[in-house]
Every structure is written in structure tokens, then in C-alpha cells.
Symmetry: C2
Subunit: 595 residues, 2 copies
Amino acid sequence: MRSHYCGQLDDSHVDHEVELCGWVHRRRDHGGVIFIDLRDRDGLAQVVFDPDLADVFATAESVRNEFVLKVKGRVRLRPEGTENPDLPTGKVEILGKELTILNKSETPPFMLNVDDEGVGEEHRLKYRYLDLRRPEMLQRLRFRSKITRVLRNYLDDNGFLDVETPMLTKATPEGARDYIVPSRTHEGQFFALPQSPQIFKQLLMVAGVDRYYQIVRCFRDEDLRADRQPEFTQLDIETSFLDESTIMAMMEGMIRKLFAEVLEVALPDPFPRMSYAEAMERFGSDKPDLRIPLELVSVNDVLADVEFKVFSGPAKDPKGRVAALRLPKGCELSRKEIDDYTKFVGIYGAKGLAYIKVNEVAKGREGMQSPILKFMPDEAITTIMERTGAEDGDLVFFGADQASIVNEALGALRVKLGHDRGLVEHGWKPLWVVDFPMFEWDEKNDRWTSLHHPFTSPNEEHIPLLESDPGACLSRAYDMVLNGTELGGGSMRIYREEVQEQVFRALGIEDEEARDKFGFLLDALKYGCPPHGGLAFGLDRLVMLMTGAKSIRDVMAFPKTQSAACLMTDAPSGVSEAQLKELHIRKRVKPKTAE
Amino acid sequence: MRSHYCGQLDDSHVDHEVELCGWVHRRRDHGGVIFIDLRDRDGLAQVVFDPDLADVFATAESVRNEFVLKVKGRVRLRPEGTENPDLPTGKVEILGKELTILNKSETPPFMLNVDDEGVGEEHRLKYRYLDLRRPEMLQRLRFRSKITRVLRNYLDDNGFLDVETPMLTKATPEGARDYIVPSRTHEGQFFALPQSPQIFKQLLMVAGVDRYYQIVRCFRDEDLRADRQPEFTQLDIETSFLDESTIMAMMEGMIRKLFAEVLEVALPDPFPRMSYAEAMERFGSDKPDLRIPLELVSVNDVLADVEFKVFSGPAKDPKGRVAALRLPKGCELSRKEIDDYTKFVGIYGAKGLAYIKVNEVAKGREGMQSPILKFMPDEAITTIMERTGAEDGDLVFFGADQASIVNEALGALRVKLGHDRGLVEHGWKPLWVVDFPMFEWDEKNDRWTSLHHPFTSPNEEHIPLLESDPGACLSRAYDMVLNGTELGGGSMRIYREEVQEQVFRALGIEDEEARDKFGFLLDALKYGCPPHGGLAFGLDRLVMLMTGAKSIRDVMAFPKTQSAACLMTDAPSGVSEAQLKELHIRKRVKPKTAE
């Protein structure tokens, strides 16, 4: 029905007859002439209707915003002075000769041709099919499609097979809440929707698939935060007979290609690597945003013996940490700003936020302001200034507590200061974080839990520690981090049955429980499981990052709200009693109205 | 860890040092030397271990089937007379110099290096990760991955956007039973897993996506037949501003490209088109297998006045049909074979299977054998022989009943005879079936139902019939058929609100019911819905057809049994009472054992 998309037209088409289809983005009557901005997936084209053609003009007069039109006309240059440099098609217009109204439109519930600032998201989600008409929304869908295409091509070219794994499956061990599906044919039993295809992809390695990938939907029934959705999409990858350095090189090659092809950005080759310990030490985070030139500095040794218990306590505690964070030009901060930052770190459990204003380094104690100076010997002050590299006009924050609290609080403060103070460098800063601990201690349940998942391989030389000192055991896991976001993570997996059993034991998983949950995986390890490893990327987050979208909902066609509902279709919704009966379940509460 | 895949080696690698990784497919000790067939995704390579290297030889002696090995060695030509022409790598072998056992294997529960005839499918499904090691299974997974790649590339190159639609959604109108998912956050409410993304793809057209595709999982909780699975995969496509002939041309172009690239087969250009009416008339089926050179011939007019009620009744009934089916050389059929075919058509509701053995056409009645000849005037016999084109030695079957029963019974018989009698032509015979009826009469519920789905557009000129004569109303639907299998089907959709309402009325769907079920779609039609249409291909079936797999389970990595269970993971399985409580449901029956 069309010869071109609206957005394709430029001065190379002048004097061509074209046929366009699209929506009325805007109609203006000006000087006895009607201007219609016709919109399609590719952009806008201005169509002009003269009164010379009375019929066509009359039809043009009758159209309203969002009518669907088919237009035939001749492309011409816009009269001098009326070009629109903001529009790719802004040099030309189409003189309309034929006009068909393919469909009408009622007045949309919100304007599509002005900025969306005023429109509530609920409204946008309810009328998602209109919201998606907005150029920036369609652009994101195109972008997403382009991203998956580049990723797939890279993986296909590297010998990966796209293999589908089941959606109706057994509860998985990722730890979040499963969505479950009652079985009709197996009374009282339920499928679980996958939180990830982790076990299946490992079994594909046992099967000899060698290189697997899948862009796959995953499900977690969690309370939703801003960047979470009940269903999300993962680029899932697994390989056999490759070690972690080969896998990491292959994966960063993929991301480099993606950024080069889609954003024309050259990412570093190779990506820098940093141990988990170093990332925590310097940035208080296992996904450091390297665009922010602020770092945490440990000063436990300096403050272990001061008479200020707030510092000396954590400084002497093996699990404690006292860290300093220098903010260049921080003396500019007002009392109120510092108070706000103190509240901010409180969110992460910090009980306070000590600081020193450094007016003049050279003057020592005299050149500084702080209620805590009086607890500090001169030597401590000098060492702290040296270690943090403080200069005149800077401010040094302090955190002192359990290391985990200090890291979280100062790590978050670092990022906030970076943004608040305009310190975030432009560009893309990827890195690999490696050498993660195998386990973290779960205070609440008084046991070790997996930092990644229970199939993650320990470092070969740490296997003896599994029994004697689980906390010291490092894993062969790796996370890819970009600008403070974890793009993906993975690990070499356990491929020997006896190691898997040792890890289960360290986790306090009984043999019977392991058999019940993962019996088929343990069986698979008996029959010639190859060395293997892989990783998974969060596709939605990757698209968000690359498109600069503020919400995960802006990179999905039909997202759900934070209460896990779809405002457009009204899902979830009621089902009939007969249906529940067939599925051998009943509701726990009496419905308020009969069904 | 490897330099080559096993299956890649040929005489171009002679004298190269190679490293291989893989599984022990077979070990033989012969003349003091150990031969190991090492297997990976790509194939087999023969590795030879001499006793010269005592350590390596000892290790080689210790390996068993399915051990995982890493081998280093030099490629050499096999000694003359020991080449294996059946193997791509059969000209060469590797003289093993280093050997590492990467992992051991217990004796697998079934042999992987011999034919699978003896192994029960239950066993294969329980140990799927071993079953998939079989070369023909891995080959199918590779094939499937290649197929989706070609399809995606074609669609990407034609401007289609890959857009994901939700899995947790509202009950859809496809008519099969939904899988449902209880909501935790919305008490007493349920999501449905999609039977297809039909409504979402239409809404993407309303949104202006223009060209959409998705390779997407769909779910139907039906009792499973041999070729059905509770979850299956669809290549889902929708376009705007294109008419059916453009869509069909684009889609057959895709399938032609697929067959050319993957099978090196040239399909006809264009595919033939046939109306639904003609397909039923000539083949008794809306998915005729054109490789079978047998056709149904209507003889209602010839037999309307015979004194044999079995024929004259249906022949005179406007809904009846009397049809003949000629089987070349059918005189060869034994009494028992004919009895078996009579039983066979009984499955489809036919009450009998009349026939005439045509020994000598020229002799007329005298040259034929049949209990029904006595009811037929000479002229009728002559006309039937002419119409069917019967020759000496042929047999003509007859069906006489309601047209639907005759079509089903003789349509199925035609296919069966084709296979039984070796009449199926070699090759690929695609076609489009078009001009479907909009509705079919549902005797049981005494109402019209959609032949496709309620969003299918009627022929423009048949819109007035929606009210007056729904049965005469044809739709703008089209099915792509290949060798008797429906590969895909689709239609132009209704894009005008008033037409959609008329169709709902014809289907006896009340306004309120329509609003409740499809309110958001009806709303969307109000706001400038473009003309659009599309289709969906059954990917599993396409892969089956292209790989010659006998079962849909053979083209899926982890399929379910006919009772919708996964024998490997034991899904579905029990869930805890606490989990059900959170989801506001309970089981209808008391579990036999406490949980």
C-alpha cells in the first residue's frame, strides 16, 4: 500500500510520486492550506493539501489526530525559510493528490504529539497500544530488536546453538519465589515457571551440545522494585571445554561488537578485571561504577587505637571496617546537605556519617573542621590525608561499622555524590569482577549460602577449604559490570559429582534434600559430564542501559505494574469454578460476588 | 581445550598436531593396540594408542564408554584397507600422544553407540541428557537452530521487529484450555499462559510497529495426541498496510529461502493456491497432500435417482455428498485389505465403504465386480468410469453420507492408500489454501463458531452476509500447507470496530461478554487501527517435517510425555502448603501423606 515509509523521505526523492500510510500526528490549517504531519514507524512527513483539489481538500479537512491515512502525492522541496532542521524529512514535503481515510480515531485519552511529562504512567499502561505509538517508545522497541539480532548473529557465528528449554518445569533453586501452574492431569501437583534455565543448560552440556544460547523468558514472583518485572528476559549462554578466560574473552567480544554496531562506541579491549575483594575495598560494591572518580580507603590500622570507640571498635574487629571517602571540593557542602547524606547512609544501616572538612591541608589539624578531630592524633590525621590524597577544600567522609555496612553505605554514598556533584565521567566503563567468595554467611538462618548458585565451581585449589573454611573459599564466578550495572554474570560449573556433594554439604543441604531437588542433575554428573561454564545477561537491563531508558517498563512492549498486574488486559483476572475444579484446586477465600 | 572438533578432521589435517575433547563412543583393543572412537557434537574421530607410550596406553586401557577425554596427537592416514567410507573422518586417525580423563562415566542405562530401536521412550526421556548425545538427536537440535536463524534473518532483512509479548497474561480466545497461574499479589485472581500472542500482535499493529515477528512459546492444556505438546513454539508474524497477496508472497519467499538454504531444495515460485471448496471437493481435506495422485470425484448428480437409498439419500441431501475415489491397480486388493479399509473409514464415521472392481472398462457392467452394481443404471456406471478416469485393473471406492463425513473418511483413506500402495511422490508440494468459510456450524451448541478466530476479517463483499447468511460468508484467511501438513495459517484481521461487533453478533457473543473478554481490543479499534494481517507457523512441526522426525518429541530438547509430565525432572511435583497459602489457593483433595 505504500512506496516509502514517511521517515525515509529526503531531498533525493524530490519530484517522485510517493504513497505513504500512517497516522495523523498533527493537522494545521494555515493560509488556506492544510498541513498534515503523517507519522509511521520511521518518522514524520509533512503532507500539504491545496484547495485546488476540492475533494481531496475536503477529505483532508475532515481528518483528526490519529486517523489512519493513505496518501499519494509528489515530493517537493519546502519553500525557503520553512524547512525544519529538527526533522530528518524537514527539507521536503509532499503535495497530496489522493487521500484515503483507512480508519478513524476517537480523540485519544492523551496527546501523542507533545511531551509525555504530564501523562501518568497508569494511563500510559492502560492504553499501551497508544503509548507505544510515541516515537521514543517505538524507537526503543526497534533498538531492542536490533540488539538481539547482533547478539544472536555473534553467537551463531561462534558455533552456539539456539536451544529452547521448557517453561513448564520443576521448582528451581534460584531462591526467589516461583510462579506455579497447577496440573490438570496430575492431581495435586504443580509446574513451576523457570527462574532461569540454569539446570537445563547444564544438562545440555552433559548432552554434548557444546555451545548453547537462548534468549529466554524467566519468572520471579518477588515484590517488585523499580527495575524488576515478574517476567524478564535473559540471554542465557553455556559452553563446554572452555576455561573462564576464553569464555570471558568471547563474551566481552560480543558486548564490544554490540556497542560498536548499535551505538558506534568502542569499548576497551580487553575489559579490565578486578577481584571482588578489590572492588569492595575500593568501591564498597561488587558492581563498581568506574565513571565516578571517588574511592574508599581503609584506615583500620590508623584508627585502631584512638579513644573514640565508634572508630576503634570496628577498626579492631576482624569483621569491622573503618573507611574514608574523599570528596573533592567537599567543603562547599552545606550543613543541610551533609545532614541529608547522613540520612541517606542511614538507609543502608550506617549509624552516622563522620567527616572532616579540609580547608588547608598544610595547616594540619588547624586547617580542618570536624567534631571528631579531637579524637585523632596528629599522625592519624596526616596518614588519612595522605592516603585519601585530600587537597585544600576537600571533605573526607568516614564510615565505621561492620564491613558489610560500611561498604554498602559508603559504596552508595560514593555513587550518589558522583551524580549530585557532577563527577560522573562521560562514556562507558566496563569491567569484569572475579574471584568471588563461594559462600556468604546467612546470619538469620545461621548457615552458609551460595553467593551465586550451588552449581558454581570453587577454585580448584580451594576445594579442600570447602570443609575446613568455607568462608575463605573463592569461586570461579565472573560478573560483567558496566557503569555500575551488572550486565551479566556466570561461572565455571561443578562437573564432578564428589565436588557437588561437598558443596551441598557446605551449604547444609542434606543428601536426601539434594536428591529430591536435584537428583537428575546429580545423576547426570555420573555419566560423563564435561567441564563447562557459562553466563546469563539481563537483556532488559542491557537495553535500558543502551537506550538510556529510566525504567525497565520503557523497554518492554507490555510490562506489568509494581503490583504485577497488566492494566491493559486486566490480568490477572477471575477464572471459573469449573476451571479450578478441573485443576484440583480451590480458592482459599470466598469470592465477594458469586461467579 | 581443543584445536578441532572430532568431526572436522579429514586428510587435509594429515601430520597436524591436534587436540580433541569428547566422549568415548566405543573402545576396541585390536592387535595390541587400543582404538577409541571419540565423539563430539560434530562427529567421530578414531584415536589409536600404541603400547610404546606406556603411561598413555595404560590410561587408554582404563577408559570406558562415555568417559570424557582430552586427547593430543598427530593425524595420519589410516592404513590402506582400514578406511571407513561411512564416516566423514574415515580416511584418517589420530595417533594419541597425550590423554587426560576429564571425567568418568558409569555404564549408561542404555547404549549410545548402537541403534535406538530397543530403547523404550520412557527411558530415553528420563535420561534425556544421554539420549540427546545420540548423533541423530544432536543433529536435529542443530538443524532447528539453523532453521530459526534463517527465518529470523529473512524477517530481520524485511524490516520485521522482534518484539516480546507477555507470558503472564489474560485468558485468550483460542478455545483450548488455558494453563493458569495463581497471583500472589491479587488474591483469588489468575494469569493465563498464552495460547498464542494473537491479541498482543494485533495491538502492536495498532501501536504502529508495522512489521512484527516473534519465535514464541505457546501453551495449551489439552489431552495430548502424538504430535502435540503442552508447550510448543510458534513463529508469529503480523504486518500492517499489506494485503493478503503481498503477505503470502513474502511468507512463501521465506519458506522457499529456508528450504533452499537448509535443505538445498527449490520449492515452486509461486506456491499454487487453492480454494477451501476445491480442496474439500478434490481431496476431502483443507490440507491436501499433493504428493498423492488420488482425487475424490463428486457423483451426487449421477446417483440421485438410483434405488439404493445409501447413495440416493446423501446424493439428494444438500448437505450430503456421494464421492468416488479411484485407486489405480486396486483390483489387486485382497478381501481382507478392503475390510481393513472399511474399518479405517469407520474411525471417521463412515458407515461402510462401497467399491467397484474394474477388471475391464470396455466391457461395462460385465467387466466389473461389486455388490452395488445391481443398483446402478448403465449410464451411471459409464459416467462414473469417465469421471474417475478408471482403467482396467483399477478399483473405485465410494463414500456416501453427510459431506463432512465423506470428506473426512475418503480424505483420510486417500492418504492411507497413497502410503500403503507406494503412490506418494517424492519431493515437496506446498500450496496455499484460501477462501475459507468464516464460520462453521456447531451442532452440539447450536451456534456458529469461527473457523479460524473471531478477529479474522470477512471478505469485504461478504460483510452484508454476516447477518443474513453467515454460512455463506468467506473469510480472508490463508493456510500454508506442505505435503499434507499445515505449516502455518493466518488471515487479514478485522480493523474496523463495527465489523468486529457484527462478527461477535454472528457468533452469538453478547456485547457484555465481548467487552469483558476483549474490551481492550475493542477499545484499540476505536483509536486508529491500521489494516493488518499476519500468520503463525508451527515451528516444531516445521522442524519435524524438514528433519523427517517421526515425533514432535524428537525435535524438542526436553519434551513432555503424553500425560504432560517431564520424566527427567519429575515435573509436575508437589509444593508446600505455605506456598499455596501465599497464593490464596488450596488443593481440593487431602494429600495422602503429610507434607
